[in-house]
Subunit: 120 residues, 4 copies
């Protein structure tokens, strides 16, 4: 996630939160960032529940763009819906957070992740 | 919803719950029922927040099939994610409920609904 | 597909066409029929390319509703986008065909199908 | 699209093709680029059919990741499925093209775009 300047700020059992500070590229290319960090947050959430000998591979996602993002930080919160051995279904929300801590709901994702044998 | 034998059993501000008793058609055509009642639950949830002079029109949905449904009843719970004047974004979950009240999460939907002027 | 009165009318290498004659239920419940037969057409198209010892299982689909359906027949045409050993991605279109043969494009689907070991 | 180094290389009536030369960021962040340029190609395709006094606004998209991208260029081809006055439905494919001109199908998108009054 180097391009985005994004960081994983919280990881739980089946959850992941990614944060990226606002900068001009985000304002100019909101949809890209919303899709990208939402997808990443869901993917990492999936990874927390993948069997230890398996990696995760994005199969597909669907994203709704809800509102323009303005604020201090963009935060994506990924969460598992169900986890099977081979397929994991996740959701993610992307919010913009102002300096005062007020959140704007910017994007909602639902995605499918496959697990594959980890390479040695 | 006459074909499905489905009934709206609960309606709130931006929420709707639809229930259909199990029968052979549901077992044989699970995907069809899961998509249909999930889509309906989200659509009716959207209708609760549509402006009074407007109707709702399904634009699109995405559904993940999570598990086969076995049980006594199939229940879909729709909920608004965000509601604008012209577009409403919803989610819905479909669960099968056993005679003992145990729930199996069968399908997850995310959908977009448009509002249109109500016909006189 | 007994409930729908639908029939597979054409099957090719990675393609499938399903047809259902119009009747009142279709007019009243268009979205259900559009989603259901589109999903079926894609699923059967996937089945034509699944390895012989494997079955197909619907993972998810996304459907856009494009226009109301009026006509003599509703036809869904499923087609493979790409087929891997474990996951197959398909698209499907649903059209209403009038007595004069004119087509109205009613729904567009994109879906993911998994292959699983066939039961003996 | 400055961040991506992407360029519109072809525009038609309801179609748009966007190209981005390969570089390390694309290899490292394939999903991000696939979603982003596919979404853009569909959005610009929609813009070619939007009424002259209206702009386009992304509502949602769904993307399937089909194969890793390796090559010389990444190309996204967007195309209108149906265009109404207020909503336009598009599809897009993303392919990686090798120096020898061989194409790998990397991603398939289906998306919804709304038209809104253009700002003066």
């Amino acid at each position: 996630m180097s391009l985005l300047g994004a960081q994983i700020v919280r990881v739980g059992h089946g959850t992941c939160e990614i944060e990226v500070p606002f900068r001009d590229e985000i304002t100019q290319q909101q949809r890209y960032f919303h899709g990208a960090i939402g997808d990443s947050a869901g993917g990492y959430a999936a990874l927390t529940l993948a069997p230890p000998d398996r990696e995760v591979l994005a199969v597909e996602y669907k994203v709704n763009f809800l509102a323009p993002a303005w604020g201090e930080r963009l935060v994506a919160r990924g969460e598992i819906i169900t986890a099977g051995g081979r397929l994991i279904v996740c959701k993610a929300e992307v919010v913009a957070i102002s300096a005062e801590g007020e959140e704007t709901y910017c994007a909602a994702l639902q995605q499918t992740v496959a697990t594959t044998p980890a390479e040695a």
